[in-house]
Amino acid sequence: MSTETDFKALWTKQSTSEIPDTKELLVKAQKLKTSTRNKLLGLNLVLLATMVFIIYIGLNIDNEKLTTKIGIVLIAIAIVSYLAASNQMIPMLFKTDLETSSQEYLAQLIRIKRKQEFLNKVMINVYFILLSAGLFLYMLQFLERMNPVWATIYLVLTFGWIALAWFYLRPRGMRKKQRALNDMIARLEEVNEQLGS
């Protein structure tokens, strides 16, 4: 009995949910928009505030040393480059072109994941190196003013923290993200291959 008409008849027999009110739908659309915008705004604000704070301090202490200035510039570059990368990324993440064919859409998703993978790898490293170098140069001036014992403790603690972050926290976080991204890419490619056969 399983003929084509049967399938079509059965298919349309599926009860569908009631049409949500148009207003409800539009509220949902608005919420989606604001939540995306807020995420972007939040990240930018935190990083920009940090930068402003660093520059403010940098300007307000009497720093004749060039290293301090270079340090400040490096920290600022680190933050700005991170912002530039993530700002470019976030709208792209949400703005996939839903109006293309499935095949193109899947290719789009894969492309985005690859970019995300790249961003994840490169940007974290760049951000980290610039920030650490900046911090170190910035600190030199303060180290000079301390007595040798405190200066040593200060240095050991700072470098200890940087080393911990670089050798432990960074790879761990990266690996986790990488694994999730790779799984996703493999999954998307698998679906894309369904269209190839």
């Binding site: 399938f7 059965l10 569908t16 949910s17 839903l98």
Partner: protein
């Protein structure tokens, strides 16, 4: 074209396609809603290069495919019984079985057969999915064969 008219005309169709894709009433409802949010947002930019139906089905299909990104959702089989049964969308076992079989197909096949059963022309399906018409014809034939076999086993 006015959004309200489109919404009323296409809601059931879009809902069924989402249902074929995920076979989960609430989830299908969510995807259908997301689809119409996109339709509402993009409608002013819609330039009638394709039929409105094709355009809407493209958006719906891509919203379905997008669910791949969200597969950390708990698979239905792992949910406790009482949660699964809280809505009984359709009492007719054959209808349920058809949707179950479709949702078990590979992702793109789910979309192709759903569109076919929704009476979308194969030329249009080709445009929606991004394959040639011949390709679609072959695929539809194979999928139907597969479904028929499942139904034969089910009935005997």
């Amino acid at each position: 074209m006015i959004f309200d008219d489109i919404y009323k005309t296409y809601w059931n169709k879009v809902f069924r396609i989402c249902m074929g894709y995920v076979n989960d009433y609430d989830w299908a409802n969510d995807i259908a809603q997301e689809t119409f949010v996109t339709v509402w947002q993009q409608l002013p930019k819609f330039r009638q290069e394709s039929a409105i139906g094709t355009w809407i089905f493209r958006i719906a299909s891509n919203h379905c495919l997008r669910q791949i990104e969200r597969q950390n959702r708990m698979p239905r089989s792992e949910m406790p019984e009482q949660i699964i049964d809280h809505i009984e969308p359709d009492k007719e076992p054959q209808v349920q079985f058809l949707y179950k079989c479709i949702a078990e197909l590979p992702e793109t096949d789910r979309l192709i057969i759903s569109l076919e059963l929704e009476d979308v022309k194969q030329a249009e399906i080709a445009k929606i999915v991004g394959l040639s018409e011949t390709n679609i014809r072959v695929k539809v034939y194979r999928i139907k064969e597969r479904l028929s076999k499942k139904f034969e086993n089910y009935e005997h």
